[in-house]
């Protein structure tokens, strides 16, 4: 195929984010849409998450990952949205020329009016951690293990230690136990877990798997297959406390030490990036600093709940539809959001104060805060105050700017969210 294809909207990534964005764009009148997905099927990471816990917010029922995904896959199939799976996007240009390859059409070039980035994220690997020892087999990311177990149907280990208590780590602790493996412990460097409370209860407590906080893995033993690890306690600066080293016999170390938005393509077009989220800087419609290019889902910020991914992606889909119908009509005047005390980041990073709709801000806190409140303010003026029993870095919070509030905000104002004691 040598000629360049022409589409109104190209969506890169066919996970929940890409599908929801494409459907919403379609609903809002966009003509030619195509989703490019490098896996064999649509569904993204959800295809391997066979546990339930998806869709509580959005569909009001507990679905498994594939069930949640299939609701969207069906809708995509019923629509006239084109889909190419097994198709990897290898580059995009500032002029929104998308280049992809697959083994059916070969080399594909698409000229797009708008592009939605929905590439999801990848897991942080061992390299970034200072773990001593050998290169023995038996060390892998929890997501890779999840794929082996849930998709390929093979056990990657029998005696397992999990480093990192994010949701994937917690879910894999339960999964491996149910498959007959012995999960010896979950170690977490921080003094609190990065996962959802419900996952700690349902995945660890219910199976008597110890969660060791302020604890890390410092060495892997074994020359061919892992034969054990050394763990140690860490102090408040995350330095190993001498004398607390302990050998734990195991054949597998699963890493669940964080997700990194997959923004290699975004970097090719030089859009502004947020160093904290590792995703693009976006406005309230999830448009990046390059007009016509939008981002949503895990590529924008790491989400723990797919429901929020869907909501966010619908905004991006609507934004793209508006852009496509009128690319040059931009009367936006921006104010900027900023994380204050205790708030790590806020998405979107900028908001159009001329917006005709209310705007929801999503944010994450930096630590565990009990009996506190969050405060949204501009200058001295407090716009929102909300109390909560507990804030945790693992749970995404949100705050809504009403039209009334937006009226009070001026161009270039800073909208600050901070955590305060009550």
């Amino acid at each position: 195929m040598n000629s360049t294809l022409k589409y109104d909207l190209v969506v890169i990534g066919g996970g929940p984010a890409g599908m929801a964005a494409a459907l919403e764009a379609k609903k809002n009148g966009v003509g030619k849409i195509i989703i490019l997905e490098r896996a064999e099927t649509l569904g993204g990471i959800l295809e391997q998450c066979i546990h339930t816990g998806f869709g509580l917010h959005y569909f009001g029922e507990e679905l498994s990952g594939p069930e949640y995904a299939h609701k969207f896959i069906e809708l995509v199939e019923q629509s006239d949205i084109d889909v190419k799976t097994d198709t990897m996007v290898i580059s995009i240009s500032k002029e929104r020329m998308v280049t992809a390859v697959n083994n059916q059409d070969g080399f594909i070039q698409i000229d797009a009016t708008a592009v939605i980035l929905a590439m999801g994220c990848r897991e942080r690997a061992r390299g970034a951690l200072d773990i001593a020892g050998s290169r023995a087999s038996g060390v892998m990311t929890a997501g890779a293990a999840q794929k082996f177990v849930n998709i390929d149907g093979y056990m990657p280990g029998k005696k397992i230690v999990i480093l990192g208590s994010g949701d994937i780590g917690l879910i894999m602790a339960r999964r491996m136990t149910l498959e007959g493996a012995q999960v010896k412990m979950v170690c977490e460097l921080m003094p609190y877990s990065g996962g959802l409370t419900r996952n700690i209860v349902q995945c660890l407590d219910d199976f008597d798997i110890p969660l060791k906080l302020s604890c890390t893995v410092i060495e892997v033993h074994g020359t061919e297959r892992v034969e054990g690890i050394t763990i140690a306690q860490v102090d408040e600066n995350r330095n190993v406390i001498d004398g607390t080293q302990e050998f734990v016999e195991c054949d597998t170390l699963l890493l669940s030490v964080g997700l990194i938005p997959e923004n290699e393509l975004s970097k090719q077009i030089d859009i502004d990036m947020d160093p904290i989220t590792s995703g693009p800087v976006v406005n309230e419609m999830r448009q990046t600093s390059l007009p016509g290019v939008f981002a949503c889902g895990n590529v924008l910020q790491v989400h723990d709940l797919v429901d929020y991914v869907t909501t966010e992606s619908q905004i991006a889909g609507l934004g793209a539809a508006k852009y496509i119908s009128n690319p040059n009509n931009d009367d936006s005047r921006y104010a900027f959001t900023k994380g204050g005390d205790g708030v790590r980041y806020i998405v979107p990073q900028k908001v159009n104060i001329n917006s005709k709709e209310e705007i929801k801000l999503y944010f994450r806190v930096a630590d565990v805060y009990l009996k506190s409140k969050f405060v949204v303010s501009v200058g001295d003026e407090v716009l929102i105050e909300k109390r909560k029993q507990k804030f945790a870095p693992g749970e995404m919070e949100n705050a809504t700017l009403t039209l009334e509030m937006l009226e009070k905000i001026k161009e270039n104002d800073e909208i600050v969210i901070s955590i305060k004691e009550r």
């Binding site: 690997a125 001593a132 297959r225």
Partner: protein, 480 residues
């Protein structure tokens, strides 16, 4: 099984030597205890082609380094191995150290380097070449003929060339003992007995153990661990040359260098260890590496590390290469103590070993008429233009399926790597030949796909695919 020559060890030395011998009408075996070529020191080193000013004048090291580096560009070109003559800088941090640079320059001249291949730079000239260099750097010795090479790719390429020309590669074939009877060596190996008229001992850190098998106790290897951090391509141009630190009483410091693939390598440390079979890195290895590296380039940071690893130097007490016919049996050639700059010297070492073999061989070595000094050029999708990619996929659809997203490696390349003359048999073997799994996600994404392709191409169940042979299994039985 009978051979004219048995080469023990398929590192860069054994493999290049095998290639050299494959020019002749000889039955040659390349015997390796691991599951692949380049599975020991030749896979884990700095990959620097040293100019040759470092070695002590008069030593074998000095002679073979200078000669090897001269030959490297040509060997790499013939074998389609990436080699870049990017030059090296030895950085001085005080006027006293500038004196040392002058000594190194002089030593380079004595070792036979061209005077105009080296230059002592002042700070200003240094900063022009290396904008990120430390404010404490006062000058440097520039050496234009130093370069970088991919050590495992060179080893694989040499072995493939040798195999194409008839050398038999025997993997998982550790040599346990050697007898000499009726003018013939009988090697007892994990794969049974092998007889050979001549032996070339290129067993790296184990070369002393192999020599002892014929009663040669003259070699004494103490392994020295070197630990590294490998940085993401996003910081790929933090340095443009190989950056050494001027050696001091405190040691040599670590080097910082680009790799031929666009990453940055930082290391090595020097740790005396006792286990010859484990290159496990020590706790705090990375912080030690960066502490030293920051002396040269303060901005370099551990945060950009994508992987860390260790390699074992085959250090002999004499500190020189030990190459020659053994006193215990002249038909047994030692190529031992090949510590740094063994890689840089490797083309010259292989030539030297051939000379020695010729000098002891019963009769004349006969050249083959159909010797091919090259190998099939591997496809590298990531380096192709869009036009080339379009054509490639049109010819073979397997090149349109990308398996490793970080390094843009296609299914076609992985299939080629498995089916090449010295094919990959495990995940690490695919990784070294194609770079699948060497990127920033470190195979989190493609690991299972690579295993599926190995399983399919080799026709073995997926749970028999290992990381690097032996008991390095990845999967156990099926789930319930």
């Amino acid at each position: 099984m009978f051979y004219d020559v048995a080469i023990i060890g398929a590192g860069v030395i054994g493999s290049l030597t095998a290639r050299n011998l494959s020019q002749y009408n000889l039955k040659v075996a390349l015997i390796e205890k691991g599951n692949d070529v380049a599975c020991a020191t030749s896979k884990a080193n700095s990959g620097i082609v040293h100019a040759g000013f470092d070695a002590k004048p008069g030593t074998l090291k000095a002679r073979l380094n200078v000669d090897g580096t001269k030959k490297m560009a040509d060997v790499c070109k013939t074998l389609f191995v990436p080699f870049k003559e990017i030059g090296s800088l030895v950085v001085a941090f005080s006027d006293y150290e500038v004196e040392t640079l002058r000594e190194l320059y002089q030593r380079g001249i004595t070792n036979g380097l061209d005077a105009d291949s080296m230059e002592i730079l002042d700070r200003q000239a240094l900063v022009k070449l290396e904008p990120n260099i430390s404010p404490d750097a006062v000058g440097a010795l520039l050496s234009k003929t130093a370069g970088i090479v991919c050590p495992y790719e060179l080893t694989v390429a040499a072995a493939e060339c040798a195999a194409t020309n008839g050398v038999e590669f025997l993997r998982n074939c550790g040599v346990n003992s050697i007898k000499f009877e009726n003018d013939m060596f009988i090697l007892s190996t994990e794969q049974g007995e092998i007889s050979a008229k001549y032996i070339i001992n290129a067993a790296g850190v184990h070369s002393d153990d192999i020599a002892k098998m014929i009663g040669d106790n003259s070699i004494n290897i103490t392994p020295r661990l070197g630990e590294y951090a490998l940085l993401d391509k996003s910081v790929g141009n933090v340095v443009n040359h190989v950056i050494f630190q001027c050696p001091t009483e405190m040691g040599k410091g670590v080097l910082i260098a680009p790799t031929v693939d666009g990453n940055v390598i930082v290391g090595p440390t020097t740790v005396e260890v006792d286990n010859k079979d484990s290159a496990a890195i020590a706790q705090d290895a990375l912080s030690n590496v960066f502490k030293s590296a920051n002396k040269s380039v303060p901005s370099i940071s551990m945060r950009n590390t994508i992987t860390s690893f260790g390699g074992l130097r085959a250090h002999d007490v004499t500190s020189d290469f030990i190459i020659g016919s053994s006193n215990a049996n002249k038909k047994f050639i030692n190529v031992a103590g090949i510590a740094s700059p063994g890689l840089a010297s490797s083309p010259a070492i292989a030539d030297y070993v051939l000379e020695i073999l010729k000098s002891i061989y019963d009769g004349e070595l006969e050249k083959k008429s159909d010797y091919n000094p090259s190998r099939t050029e591997p496809v590298k999708f990531r380096e192709m233009s869009d036009e080339q990619r379009r054509e490639l996929i049109a010819k073979n659809k397997a090149y349109g399926r990308i398996i490793c997203r970080c390094e843009t490696v296609t299914e076609g390349e992985i299939i080629d790597a498995i089916n090449s003359p010295v094919g990959a048999r495990d995940v690490d073997g695919v990784k070294r030949r194609t770079r699948a799994g060497m990127g920033r996600c470190q195979s989190g994404f493609c690991g299972s796909k690579v295993m599926e392709i190995l399983s399919r191409e080799l026709n073995v169940p997926i749970n028999e695919i290992t990381k690097f042979g032996g008991k390095s299994d990845i999967l156990y039985e099926r789930t319930k």
